[in-house]
């Protein structure tokens, strides 16, 4: 029996296990929406396509499943771009489906035409322009396979309207075989043996783990590994939650806003074991001063991440979970007492802290969110100070509980991502820790959360500035606050109420706890809490751009100066 392209698409999505998708209809996707009308797939109508892409991303990060978003051609597709690029940089599996003008019109500057596959080529793992209805099942199958395997990433399928309307016999391919795409999962046994030998020999091991640990669900294996060799563990921003934040071996985040302990330790170690991390410039700082005397073992599924920025001694290409499982069989327990003496000394000398001066501090707010949720919530962040304070002061014990745009650094990510996460994990408490700048970048999705009665909580750390920009201007541009003051702002409490959400304002420390308690009691709508924090609070430590990561500035340095 023949089926329409749109029906084939929806049937294929259903067979991929898609239960929910996010997006907005438009001209050339009307046939697809007509097919969705009768489908069991839940469709979440967002208010901007960017919101849809971030929701798909947040859903994917929280659940480990592939997130799906759908938009029309032209502006619908271009509005997805920031979201797709966000997923690409952080290796998040999403499938973005876009409508396209009819194949006969492509290239004619037709109404709402954009070269979507051309525009998204550098920000997708792969993309497809469907040219024939009969290719559709294979393409959908391949898209989900490519998005979710190897180093995951976004895949886009661009479907011209005549393909959606056209008919074909429906033959569902049970298996996927792409001759040019065979990701490596098993680590090479010789490399694993070599790594074990190096671990046995070293005196000052350091584990540097990133988002790859979370993507490959290797947290348990990482914990076994770390405990067995008793190495300090530092995490990247995206790695947070991959190793328990409350574990005695955890020394904090590495890099620009990392702890001094983690940055000293990675540079003093004689062996760095990098797992699912890519030596990003925000981690390494000045490259020729980074870990100059250590050997490096690098476990990563993407061969191109190995020796890209830093030369690696023992590369192991494959899936972190598989490799750690094998490696754990090869290694023998160690204690490294002298190394720990040194680390303990750094820890007591350089704890993460902030100055409590009676004013409302963002770090205090985050600590209170941690205390009241007992570390059990899913936390999303926007980008900037709110993101770094969260990374520093909320202790993430579980994977998939910290969702943040690390690579692309997308302001406006956190709120729609929180909505996507809440759809994926309805029983979890979901907080978006936001800034007053970022939250205004996708505030329109508040109505989406209200419509679906989602109890998402938004904690706005409101300082009336684009805070991280202002901090850099203060530290590196002589306090010339060029266009970073955004104190002209809406009344966020009234704004929440206008949308049908709950709004709370907090101006003092003692109001923090009651406000959070109140927000937790709201179970059928979002809550926005406007925390009016000290305006010029900074994120410390900070390593100036281009400096070695051992040369951080702390708040005490500024106060003394």
């Amino acid at each position: 029996m023949k089926k329409k392209g749109a029906e084939i698409l929806v049937e294929c999505l259903r067979r991929e296990g898609v239960e929910i998708m996010f997006g907005i209809p438009g001209g050339v996707v009307l046939p697809i929406f007509d097919a969705l009308y009768d489908s069991p797939i839940k469709f979440i109508l967002t208010r901007h396509e960017q919101g849809a892409a971030h929701m798909a991303d947040g859903f994917a990060r929280a659940t480990g499943k592939v997130g799906v978003c759908l938009a029309t051609s032209g502006p619908g597709a271009t509005n997805l771009i920031t979201g797709i690029a966000t997923s690409y940089m952080d290796s998040i599996p999403i499938v973005a489906i876009t409508g396209q003008v009819a194949t006969t019109l492509i290239g004619n500057d037709a109404f709402q035409e954009a070269d979507t596959t051309g525009i998204t080529r550098p920000i997708t793992k792969h993309n497809y322009l469907v040219k024939s209805v009969k290719d559709l099942p294979r393409i959908v199958r391949e898209a989900f396979y490519i998005a979710s395997t190897g180093r995951p990433g976004p895949v886009l399928i661009d479907i011209p309207v005549d393909i959606s309307k056209g008919e074909s016999e429906f033959n569902y391919p049970e298996t996927v075989n792409i001759r040019s795409y065979k990701p490596t999962y098993k680590g090479h046994p010789v490399q694993i043996k070599k790594a074990a030998e190096e671990i046995r020999r070293c005196k000052k091991p350091f584990i540097y783990a990133g988002g790859g640990v979370i993507i490959s669900n290797a947290s348990k294996e990482l914990k076994v590994f770390a405990e067995k060799i008793n190495a300090p563990v530092g995490l990247t921003l995206l790695g947070l939650g991959g190793f328990p934040g409350t574990h005695p071996q955890f020394v904090g985040m590495i890099g620009m806003h990392g702890t001094r302990v983690a940055n000293y330790a990675i540079c003093e170690a004689d062996l760095i074991i990098a797992i699912g991390a890519r030596f990003d410039d925000r981690v390494t700082g000045k490259l020729d001063k980074f870990a100059t005397s250590s050997k490096i073992i690098h476990i990563d599924i993407d061969p191109a991440s190995i020796s890209k920025n830093v030369p690696v001694d023992i590369p192991i290409v494959g899936d972190a979970k598989n490799i750690l499982t094998e490696l754990n069989k090869e290694i023998t327990p160690k204690k490294n007492p002298d190394w720990w003496r040194q680390i303990k000394e750094w820890q007591s000398k350089y704890p993460l802290s902030y100055s409590r001066n009676g004013k409302l501090k963002p770090q205090f707010v985050i600590e209170e969110i941690y205390n009241i949720t007992k570390g059990n919530a899913i936390i999303t962040t926007e980008v900037g100070q709110n993101q770094m304070w969260t990374a520093q002061f909320y202790k993430f014990d579980y994977p998939r509980t910290f969702l943040s745009s690390g690579g692309l650094g997308t302001m406006g990510y956190g709120f729609p991502a929180a909505i996507g996460a809440q759809f994926g994990k309805p029983d979890k408490i979901v907080f978006d820790i936001a800034g007053d700048g970022s939250i205004q970048m996708n505030i329109q999705e508040l109505i989406t959360a209200v419509e679906h009665k989602l109890p998402v909580k938004v904690a706005i750390l409101n300082n009336g500035y684009l805070g991280m920009v202002r901090q850099w201007q203060q530290l590196f541009y002589n306090k010339r606050y060029s266009y970073s003051d955004i104190s002209k702002q809406p009344d966020f409490v009234k704004l929440a109420e206008a949308y049908g959400a709950v709004g709370i304002r907090v101006t003092k420390e003692e109001e923090v706890r009651p406000a959070l308690e109140k927000s937790l009691k709201v179970s059928d709508k979002p809550t926005i809490i406007d925390f009016q924090i000290e305006r010029e609070e900074n994120v410390f430590p900070i390593v100036p751009a281009g400096a070695p990561i051992t040369e951080a500035i702390d708040y005490k340095d500024i106060e003394l100066a």
Binding site: T117, G118, R121, P122, K125, H126, L129, I146, G150, I178, R179, S180, Y181, K182, P183, T184, D302, P303, A304, I306, S307, K308, V317
Partner: protein, 173 residues
């Protein structure tokens, strides 16, 4: 150093854009790029001449391998290979230098494929060095127009020393 890389790709629309886009977005320098069908019509072979140090070349190989449409990447420079380029060169002539130019063309085993009262158009094939040498020799006469195809290359069937496994061919990913 200059490397000649042979890339086997799916013969599909858009693949060339993916490859050239990768080179520009990652800041790799292409000296030349040629594409054509292979013995298997579903596969095209691209011959890319790229310059860079070992670290750059390693990234070029790895990043190419990451593209879904790329089937295999071979760095020819690590093997014995045959490398050819074709050039068409329109040289200015006059009564006094005609025979000299014909001689040079003969030495280079080129062919004069078009003649006008004022020009010869010479077809010449060989590796890039040979073509460069020819151009250098005829440029004093005046080159009016020129076109080069860029290198194409195939590995030699008999390699004197077989390259070690995993050495010359980068593993896919």
């Amino acid at each position: 150093m200059r490397h000649t890389i042979s890339v086997l790709v799916e013969n599909r629309p858009g693949v060339l854009a993916r490859i050239s886009g990768l080179f520009s977005s990652r800041g790799f320098n292409i000296e030349s790029l040629t594409v054509g069908e292979t013995e298997d019509p579903s596969i095209s072979r691209m011959t890319i001449v790229v310059s860079g140090d070992d670290i750059v070349l390693e990234q070029v190989n790895k990043q190419l391998n990451k593209l879904i449409d790329v089937i295999k990447v071979i760095d020819m420079t690590k093997e014995k290979f045959i490398n050819r380029e074709l050039a068409l060169i329109k040289v200015s002539i006059n009564a006094t230098n005609r025979s000299e130019i014909i001689q040079i063309v003969d030495v280079f085993r080129g062919k004069i494929v078009d003649i006008s009262p004022k020009t010869f158009t010479v077809e010449i094939t060989g590796n890039s060095d040979k073509i460069n040498a020819f151009i250098e020799l005829v440029s004093p006469f005046g080159i009016k127009e020129m076109v080069r195809t860029g290198a194409v290359a195939l590995s030699r069937e008999y390699q004197k020393e077989k390259p070690k496994k995993g050495d010359s061919k980068f593993s896919g990913g």
